[in-house]
Symmetry: C2
Subunit: 349 residues, 2 copies
């Protein structure tokens, strides 16, 4: 297991087509665990954090990474840019860099698997796959969880299940989420009904970067609210069923737009293309909106542009990836300007 810099921009799951493409961008399973006998990270001192990090990384090294090329990064050894880039690549949550002491991430060989240490919980195991593959994503995370448990003692309560820093993760510690691209539901306004229905079904609806992030580029992240009193299999198959329904709604909305408002659809997609082709600078939010409408145009075949993966493009033009490209110290105007150039390259324009 090598210890090196953060991984290259974008893992394979961003480039591959999975089931439900292009509406279902990815499936993610995340398991939260804590070590028995050590205070939870939020309450732990430096020494305990170091101890937890050592125990978890050693277990990962011995049982998960084996001889495969996992990369381990200690948060305090990474630049601010690199830390933010990991969040932009969906490896860590946006708040990961707020407190870096004792934190670490072990990242699998571009396969969407990672283990985060000392964020909200001692251990956060994550597996991301392209498209709707919730069961497979959960099994990939569960496999890591199972072998780690042979090395370390997890904090477990007979009645409640696995204990976590936040009560919202207690029990299974499992959060399954889907990243969905829903431009037609947003354009027709039917997204409101869909979000209400999801809320009633116990599903969180969030933006591209999870909790606390706004929706941009018509990309929605939906995840199970309940982690307690449900089996992992139920949580996973429930997400699968719900995603099928949302995807059906989006497909219906796209058909309706093509039938009743094709000129409007084409106009929006073409205008977005024109702006991307010509703009001299563009902010991240607007860029996501533009590529969302171009992608809708590609998907519905009103726009003669080569297909692309919206998440892969989104990561390539994200603020810290561009800042890193420009040399680490670039200002916002330089980043916005470079984004317009990058965008044209990524879309082959």
């Amino acid at each position: 297991m090598a210890r090196s810099k953060a991984s290259a921009p974008g893992a394979d799951w961003m480039r591959e087509h999975g089931p439900g493409y292009p509406l279902v961008l990815s499936s993610r399973a995340r398991i939260a665990r804590n070590l028995e006998g050590l205070p939870f990270p939020i309450a732990a001192g430096e020494e305990d954090l170091e101890k937890a990090r050592g125990m978890v990384l050693e277990a990962v090294s011995r049982r998960v990474a084996e001889d495969r090329d996992w990369e381990v990064s200690f948060a305090e050894e990474l630049s601010r840019n690199r830390l933010e880039m990991m969040a932009e690549e969906h490896i860590t949550p946006a708040a990961f860099s707020d407190r870096i002491g004792g934190r670490a991430v072990a990242i699998g060989p571009n396969d969407g698997r990672s283990v985060m240490v000392n964020e909200e919980d001692h251990v956060r195991i994550q597996a991301i796959l392209p498209g709707a593959q919730f069961m497979k994503a959960w099994k990939a995370a569960d496999e890591i969880d199972t072998v780690l448990e042979t090395e370390v003692q997890y904090c477990y309560d007979q009645r409640l299940g696995y204990l976590t820093s936040s009560p919202s993760n207690i029990g299974t510690g499992l959060r399954v989420s889907a990243m969905l691209h829903l431009p037609a539901l947003v354009t027709t306004g039917d997204i409101g009904k869909t979000i209400s229905a999801l809320a009633q079904a116990g599903i969180y609806v969030r933006g591209l970067y999870g909790e606390g992030s706004g929706v941009a580029g018509n990309i929605f992240q939906i995840s199970n609210r309940q982690t307690l009193g449900r089996t992992e299999e139920f949580i996973v198959s429930n997400m699968d069923m719900i995603v099928r329904q949302v995807v059906d709604n989006e497909r219906t909305a796209r058909k309706m737009m093509l039938r009743e408002a094709e000129l409007d659809l084409a106009d929006r997609a073409y205008r977005s293309l024109g702006v991307v082709e010509r703009c001299r600078r563009v902010c991240y939010y607007e860029a996501l909106e533009l590529i969302s409408l171009i992608k809708l145009g590609v998907d519905t075949e009103v726009l003669p542009v080569s297909d692309f993966n919206i998440l892969e493009v989104g990561v390539a033009i994200s603020p810290y990836h561009l800042r890193e490209f420009l040399g680490g110290e670039a200002g916002e105007e330089d980043v916005d300007r470079e984004r317009s150039v990058h965008l044209r390259k990524m879309l082959d324009l």
Copy 2:
């Protein structure tokens, strides 16, 4: 003097560069007169309107048109499209088609001169020239006025001067106006100060289509408010002086934008170009905004696009010109769609 259909889209003054180009688009002088012994048009019956029309057109025919190719149109013989097209070409005011009985227009051979009969006043003589040529425009109108007065008896009061339907035209009956393109003043926000200063100087500020029309495409029409108690020469030279000041303000704003916000200026111009290149439909108002920013980009040399006259393009993509092009019965969606095609042709894109 031929009696035929309305003139071809756009007179020469829209295509030529005059002094102050490209900021001063055109100069217009308009003289209002009424015939002695006949009720003003607003109060006149059909018979009196016919009588006035006959007298004015005969005078025009004998003394103005002579053997040159003037076109005379009776309003009630024109289609709704043709009537509106004359307004779009700035020959008649927007309200001309509201009441057509007894009205007529005699239009000079693409030289910007015209005589309108039985609109608000019996006679409205107009001369438009490219750029800032207020004195020349007034002299062209005055020349027509002088020869007509040898044929007909004008309604004149020794104390007040020429009498008109609206008190706002009484005295000289002269309204001198300038069409100005002021995108930088609008972008920097300094247009507010300019408009206040103009109001204090007794100048009306209106949009592309005069009284009651909104500003579109950053095109402003400014004209003298006072027609009474001032000589024609004063009105004309005052307008010339005021236009020079506004043009200076716009030039300063452009220099400031180039110095302090060139990227922003380029970005706006390029985006507008991208939208024009790619849109599948566009409404008239938005199209004017787009060509205004493209023109600003051309003027400031940040955009490598061939120069064009914003008024000429504006007329070519105006609603009734496009409707006429499509066959007279086209709906709004068809017009908006054709406008996007026309726009690309007009700008050589």
